[in-house]
């Protein structure tokens, strides 16, 4: 063997050993705990991906500035390794694999959207790496028997079913039978919206309501006028629409244009689509579900109460006039990790998994307690109604403006 070959062989041997050793140390480097996340910074979810990332970063900064995380008597600082998943599930799964196998990350934060979470969960599950996610609400994530997946947010079937409850109590109040309520629905043909639909169908069935329109909108929907024409003819008492922000924007625009007069219209993603600003006339009285609002009466010792979070986040990121709930729940997910590290007092994946599973706490975002399946069962969905350019909380049907006041 000549000298050059020997050098080459030893170099490759050393790098090989480094690659073997390196990942084992990467999850905790010195006094740093490395969390990993593939998040959508470009592509169709870029806006919400960024909201989530800022929520993560804000929480990391806050926890670090308040003394970090104490494990085994030593203080650690949190930091997050991000990759851009380009809003595509395949890329997300690939990057999760890379975070875990190459970068040695053993503590994961979720991506944005149910679709991406669905792509990544099998990977984290395969390696037994716990993932606390904040942006995947699809019910179907929690029926797969995943052991390492935990979500701080309410699941999707709860998004619009409160609207049905409100419509039922409104009917009772007006001396009618809830079963006389006619329901019209238009849902995008994607996992999230179809889950929302499931919840609505179940609730409507409970009251014996009649579903008069049940349309599924294509993913690239830019026109729902045929559905709305049908709405005009059928005169339902409540119209439900779900299709992320694009569905909300399309619906608001065409509801205004076609002068739809339904006593109650309930739509998901109102805030994200900014329908109250872009279509102030048509959006009057829209009933919108939200995971969190600055008015919820919860608090914790890191962020204070929800109002304080709202104030301080705006101070840190002055470009926000209203904090999207996607941001708040991302911060809550980081907080869950911190509490789990301290409860487990270890960096062992399985002990951490059990610690997360046993979490029972109140945060500014709401109460957190995970079910066996990993979803948060302690936090209800909130409903808010657009009134003027503001959102008014709707706790019971008494808070509801019915029929919605609108002047086209």
């Amino acid at each position: 063997m000549n000298f050059n070959k020997l050098v080459l062989a030893s170099i490759s041997f050393v790098t090989g050993m480094l690659m073997l050793v390196f990942p084992l140390q990467a999850k905790v480097e010195g006094d740093k705990i490395i969390l990993g996340s593939a998040i959508s910074l470009t592509g169709k979810y870029a806006t919400n991906g960024l909201h989530a990332q800022r929520g993560y970063d804000f929480a990391v900064e806050r926890i670090n500035s308040m003394g970090g995380v104490k494990v085994g008597g030593k203080t650690y600082m949190l930091s997050i390794k991000y990759y851009d998943d380009e809003s595509t599930p395949a890329r997300g799964a690939q990057l999760a694999e890379r975070l875990i196998k190459q970068d040695g990350v053993e503590f994961m934060l979720g991506p944005y959207s149910s679709g991406l979470t669905k792509a990544i969960a099998p990977v984290t599950e395969k390696y037994g790496v716990p993932m606390v996610e904040a942006e995947g609400a699809s019910r179907s994530l929690f029926t797969q028997g995943y052991r390492y997946l935990f979500a701080v947010l309410s699941t999707s079937e709860q998004y619009l079913s409160p609207s049905i409850d409100h419509a039922a109590s409104m009917a009772k109040k007006n001396g009618k039978n809830p079963s006389s309520v006619k329901v019209a629905m238009a849902f995008e043909n994607d996992p999230f919206s179809l889950d929302v639909r499931e919840g609505v169908v179940d609730t409507a069935k409970k009251y014996g309501m009649k579903i008069v329109i049940d349309d599924k909108l294509p993913a690239d929907l830019s026109d729902m006028s045929s559905t709305l024409t049908k709405v005009k003819a059928m005169r339902p008492d409540i119209l439900l629409v779900s299709g992320h922000s694009k569905g909300a924007a399309t619906a608001a625009r065409q509801i205004g244009e076609m002068r739809i007069n339904v006593p109650l219209i309930s739509i998901t993603h109102c805030e994200a689509a900014k329908v109250h600003e872009k279509f102030p006339k048509a959006a009057q009285g829209f009933l919108c579900p939200t995971q969190w609002s600055p008015n919820v009466p919860y608090s914790d010792s890191y962020f204070g109460d929800s109002k304080k979070y709202d104030r301080e986040f705006k101070a840190a990121y002055p470009s926000y006039s209203a904090i999207p709930y996607q941001t708040a729940q991302a911060s809550a997910a980081v907080l869950v990790w911190k509490l789990a590290f301290e409860a487990a007092n270890s960096f062992d994946k399985d002990r951490l998994r059990d610690a997360i599973s046993a979490t029972q706490t109140e945060t500014f975002y709401g109460k957190i307690k995970f079910s066996e399946a990993g979803n948060n069962i302690a936090k209800p969905m909130l409903m808010r109604q657009i009134s003027g350019k503001k959102y008014a909380d709707v706790v019971s049907a008494n808070d509801l403006a019915w029929p919605r006041k609108v002047s086209y």
Binding site: K44, N189, D220, S226, T227, E257, R259, N261
Partner: protein, 301 residues
């Protein structure tokens, strides 16, 4: 489905008025993009997969100008001019290099262009759904049952004027004649002293401008999003394939037909089949043609 038919023809026949009107308004926009596609296809034999993205880009130009304080109608000519320039640029950078290559090269090139445009628009404007809300008057009839936003009427008129302008340009102007000559036989045109490279550039740029105009109308009557281009590409391919190249009346007819078909499919079968109806119609037309051809086919000895 039966319920929907009953609704349409027995309980609320007035719905038909709305559907037919909407179908016509929308069909006009479809016809515009399809005509642009037919032009490029016929003259240059380029099947432009980025057609829909040109439409969306036109919409975003209108959106940006509208936000900068321009009157929505003024954004139409501006978007056309900008898109003309953009089309020319695309021709010089990409299309010129693939025009003599086989079909797959040009398909791949325009597909790549389509992806690039989507992502760049997404980077600049973000993935949110946008719309240009000109806040024009909305006419209504039958006790608000039928509503017609004046912007839709206007878009129909504008589309008609544009189509007329393009036809006159192709028939009467020297340039239009050289475009048609090049379409018929590029080699002969070159022998006759026509600068075919220039003709190709103008044709492609003209198509981009037409798409830009359609995009402005789309932004004003519907909504735009960086990734919505594909449905417009599919629709224009369906229309052009069904009506043939260089047959403007057929393109317009097919455009209106598709607009109506989409509206009715949306009502009768549900919104999820609305866009699918374009493809189904295309399939039916192609099958019908095959049957017709079979009947005529003879063995020539």
């Amino acid at each position: 489905m039966l319920d929907n038919l009953k609704l349409l023809f027995i309980w609320a026949p007035v719905m038909n008025v709305q559907l037919i009107l909407d179908g016509i308004f929308i069909g006009a926009v479809f016809a515009l993009t399809a005509y642009g596609l037919a032009l490029v296809w016929g003259v240059m034999n380029i099947k432009n997969l980025a057609q829909g993205d040109f439409v969306i880009m036109g919409g975003y130009i209108s959106f940006a100008l509208f936000n900068a304080g321009f009157h929505p109608l003024l954004t139409l000519p501006l978007a056309m001019i900008l898109m003309f320039g953009f089309g020319w640029l695309v021709y010089v950078i990409i299309i010129r290099r693939v025009i003599d290559k086989d079909m797959f090269t040009s398909l791949l090139a325009t597909f790549g262009l389509s992806l690039l445009m989507q992502q760049v628009i997404n980077l600049i404007f973000g993935p949110e759904v946008q719309t240009v809300d000109p806040d024009f008057k909305i006419y209504s009839a039958f006790d608000d049952f039928v509503t017609i936003p004046s912007i839709k009427i206007l878009s129909l008129v504008l589309a008609a004027l544009l189509a007329l302008g393009v036809v006159l340009f192709m028939k009467k102007s020297r340039l239009g004649q050289s475009i048609r000559a090049t379409a018929q036989d590029p080699r002969a045109a070159r022998v006759m002293g026509i600068n075919t490279d220039r003709v190709y550039a103008i044709t492609f740029a003209l198509n981009a401008a037409i798409c830009g105009a359609a995009g402005v109308l789309v932004a004003m009557i519907w909504v735009i999003q960086p990734f919505y281009g594909i449905v417009y590409s599919i629709r224009s391919f369906a229309i052009v394939t069904a009506s043939g190249l260089g047959n403007l009346p057929a393109v317009i007819g097919a455009g209106f037909g598709l607009g109506l078909a989409e509206q009715y499919t949306g009502i009768v079968f549900g919104a999820e089949y609305q866009v699918a109806s374009a493809v189904v119609l295309l399939l039916l037309v192609l099958m019908w043609r095959q049957i017709k051809l079979r009947q005529k086919r003879e063995v020539v000895r």
